[in-house]
């Protein structure tokens, strides 16, 4: 094998690696001092996968105890030379080769790697194996379980809430301030400004921001306050217009809806900030809402809003910007609170039910962490291999 791969002066990097490997092995092989090779190499398709893996099995070399490991190589039927996949530690007798091409047949070769990187004669598979794709990805089975569990509790509580189960929730200060802020703007005869973040509709925070907009717009319609929504994405503008229209309709004041108060500025982050900052100092809004995904503009907007004396309420799940909102705004909805806001504001039972579902989700997380940590601690203290396998199953299989 060494001579065959050496002869190929290909530029493929992995072939180059194989060449390099082979080159310095030649003298050792010539001397005939290699360790005993592994035997009975078999290759079979990895079950329940997306068709990129093949399982290898072999019987260990007689010199297993003194080996550095086993060198696994592969090639497709159309390629001439084997290339290195991995070096697995001694004592191993199985390996899953991943990241294979589904359209090709694959051949494998395993050698025992002795001291001073001396390789044994290779053992190879003779019949090419083609990885097959199954209809279900078995590596994601436990993830499916987690998904169903978490979605299940949320849906279950929504159903319970619809059936009239009474729900109590703690108060969130920022939310109670929203109505007051809109009211104050009305009294002062100054507009409200709503910023739905700077990301597009492909971000869930923007969507959450717009659900809050629908409540703010309803309040504004009831108070007859002027609400301005500059957006940095035209899709967000489109969605915000639909949202506002629905809200004004729900408030019984469809005639007060003015689509021109929702307008696109520019997709460029700082162009958008420059413009909104200008709007703020010129129109002096009495209330500013920042609900969505924010980056560097968070502090630029919040400090300018502070300069013009607006009440400011922010909500975002961007942890990097939370300190600035916390420092510069009157109220800030932190992370999960921001997603909970629209449910709180609507007060509808099925909306509130989803919050209970989230709480159960957190309980499950806490329980999982506590169990896992206890297990890991016991393993560290006692070295129990049984519990270690349990913990490994939990972290390595269930939580992947």
């Amino acid at each position: 094998m060494s001579s065959s791969s050496k002869g190929k002066g290909s530029t493929k990097p992995w072939i180059a690696a194989a060449v390099a490997c082979a080159a310095f092995l030649v003298p050792a092989l010539a001397a005939g001092q290699g360790p005993a090779p592994p035997s009975n190499l078999t290759a079979s398709d990895h079950p329940w996968d997306n068709g990129t893996r093949i399982d290898l099995q072999w019987s260990p070399s007689a010199d297993d105890a003194s080996l550095l490991g086993y060198m696994v190589r592969r090639r497709t039927t159309t390629e001439d030379a084997f290339s290195v996949v991995e070096i697995v530690p001694a004592g191993t007798s199985a390996f899953t080769v991943s990241n294979l091409n589904r359209e090709a047949g694959h051949l494998f070769q395993v050698t025992a790697l002795g001291a001073n990187n001396v390789e044994s004669t290779p053992v190879a598979t003779t019949a090419p194996v083609v990885p097959t794709m199954e209809w279900f990805d078995g590596t994601r089975l436990w993830f499916l379980f987690t998904l169903i569990l978490l979605c299940g509790v949320v849906i279950a509580f929504i159903v319970l809430a619809r059936r009239g189960k009474p729900l109590t929730l703690r108060r969130i200060a920022g939310l109670e301030a929203i109505d007051d802020a809109v009211g104050r703007a009305t009294e002062m005869g100054r507009p409200c400004l709503f910023i739905p973040g700077i990301l597009d509709m492909s971000d869930i925070q923007t969507i959450a921001g717009l659900t809050i907009l629908s409540r703010v717009a309803k309040t504004a319609a009831e108070y007859d306050a002027k609400l301005e929504v500059p957006t940095s994405r035209s899709l967000v503008m489109t969605a915000a217009r639909e949202t506002m229209q629905t809200a004004y309709l729900a408030a019984g004041r469809p005639e007060a809806y003015n689509p021109d108060s929702i307008y696109y500025v520019t997709d460029e982050q700082f162009g958008y900030v420059a413009y909104v900052q200008g709007v703020m100092v010129r129109e002096k809004p009495a209330a500013c809402f920042y609900m969505g995904s924010f980056f560097a503009e968070a502090l630029l907007l919040a400090e300018t809003g502070n300069l013009v004396g607006a009440i400011q309420i922010a909500g975002t799940a961007q942890p990097a910007q939370l300190p600035f909102f916390v420092a510069a705004c009157d109220y800030t909805l932190i992370g999960e609170e921001f997603f909970a806001a629209s449910a709180y504001l609507s007060g509808e039972p099925d909306q509130l039910g989803s919050l209970k579902g989230q709480d159960v989700g957190k309980l499950l997380v806490a329980a999982g962490i506590i169990l896992g940590v206890l297990g890991a601690t016991v393993v560290a203290l006692t070295g129990s291999t049984f519990i270690e396998s349990l913990v490994n199953f939990f972290t390595g299989t269930m939580l992947t």
């Binding site: 290909s10 530029t11 990097p13 992995w14 072939i15 180059a16 980056f295 942890p319 990097a320």
Partner: protein
């Protein structure tokens, strides 16, 4: 220092003159009262001087502060340093001119280090303005100091692809589905160093320079998490870095945070490869640490002063 003040007397004069009105207000209005009602524009002015003067000082004298590399900077350095010549490295430069102050020096140092190690560099970006950043870094380091490296053999610029993290998801298993040409429009099958490269799992290391979304977090989520054998190191802005610490070291063995991280890494690269008299373009971050220090001290001073006033006022109320 004194020599600097004497020769640059006009700058000193401007600074002092600009602060005279503030001093007069302190004298006429009283210390506490002036602090309580201080116009924020004075703070702006103080910050301007605290950044501008050190830049000018360092620019004229060429002196920088010493730097002691942290554990993470060293880990980042080692990840690249342990690679062998000819290993392929994906250089994912996800930033734009707005963040160049922090990330430009990192990108420069990364490319310099990779060029010194004779690694094959595959440049790409998920940011629309990223290609300019790649081009300018290539011009600054490879074209200027490594003219022997050939495009297409030693480095290639795959350019920008839209689609945010979806791009990562695709190329981690199938690079060619999205990258059919390089940024110059040459088909990938005609580029020698692309031969045999079908996905980015084949890269020995991914080096990400990240200013936000999409960036290091997405690389961790969609490249490292599903394919743990993928090695990733990152240079991130000060804003991004704290969010990335949860991924260190398992998913992210090396992380450079902000200009400080850049300066530490610069120091490591310079010490290891550039000798006693490096070209000043490789000391950019080290130079920027000067204004950093003075501005930090100013901000700390502002917080302290504001809190002293606050404590005095709240005591007064209690009485």
């Amino acid at each position: 220092m004194i020599e600097f003040i004497v020769t640059q007397w006009w700058l000193v004069a401007i600074v002092i003159a600009s602060l005279i009105p503030l001093a007069m207000r302190f004298v006429s209005g009283g210390l506490l009262e002036t602090l309580r009602t201080l116009d924020r524009r004075w703070i702006f002015l103080l910050l301007l001087w605290s950044v501008l003067i050190p830049i000018y000082f360092i620019g004229v004298t060429g002196r920088t502060f010493p730097e002691v590399p942290s554990v993470l900077a060293r880990a980042t350095f080692d990840e690249i340093d342990r690679l062998s010549p000819g290993d392929s490295v994906l250089m994912a430069f996800d930033y734009d001119p707005a963040s160049e102050g922090e990330l430009g020096p990192m990108a420069t140092a990364f490319v310099r280090h990779a060029a010194e190690k004779k690694l094959k560099m595959y440049f790409m970006t998920l940011w629309p303005i990223g290609p300019q950043m790649i081009d300018s870094t290539i011009a600054k380091v490879i074209t200027a100091d490594f003219p022997e490296l050939a495009y297409g053999r030693d480095y290639v610029n795959l350019g920008y692809k839209s689609g945010y993290e979806a791009v990562i998801k695709v190329i981690v298993t199938n690079l060619r589905e999205l990258y059919t040409t390089d940024s110059r429009g040459t088909g990938v099958q005609e580029i020698p160093m692309m031969e045999g490269i079908t996905n980015i799992q084949q890269m020995k290391l991914i080096v990400n320079v990240s200013a936000g979304y999409p960036g290091t977090k997405e690389w961790v989520q969609y490249a490292v998490t599903p394919f743990p054998q993928v090695r990733l190191v990152a240079g991130a802005t000060g804003v991004q870095a704290p969010l990335l610490y949860p991924y260190v070291p398992r998913q992210l063995p090396g992380l450079l945070g902000a200009i400080k991280g850049a300066a530490e890494y610069e120091k490591l690269v310079v010490d290891a490869y550039l000798g006693a008299n490096p070209h000043p373009k490789y000391l950019e971050a080290l130079r920027r640490m000067g204004p950093q220090l003075v501005a930090h001290l100013l901000i700390i001073a502002l917080i302290v002063v504001a809190n002293v006033v606050f404590v005095i006022d709240s005591r007064g109320k209690k009485r």
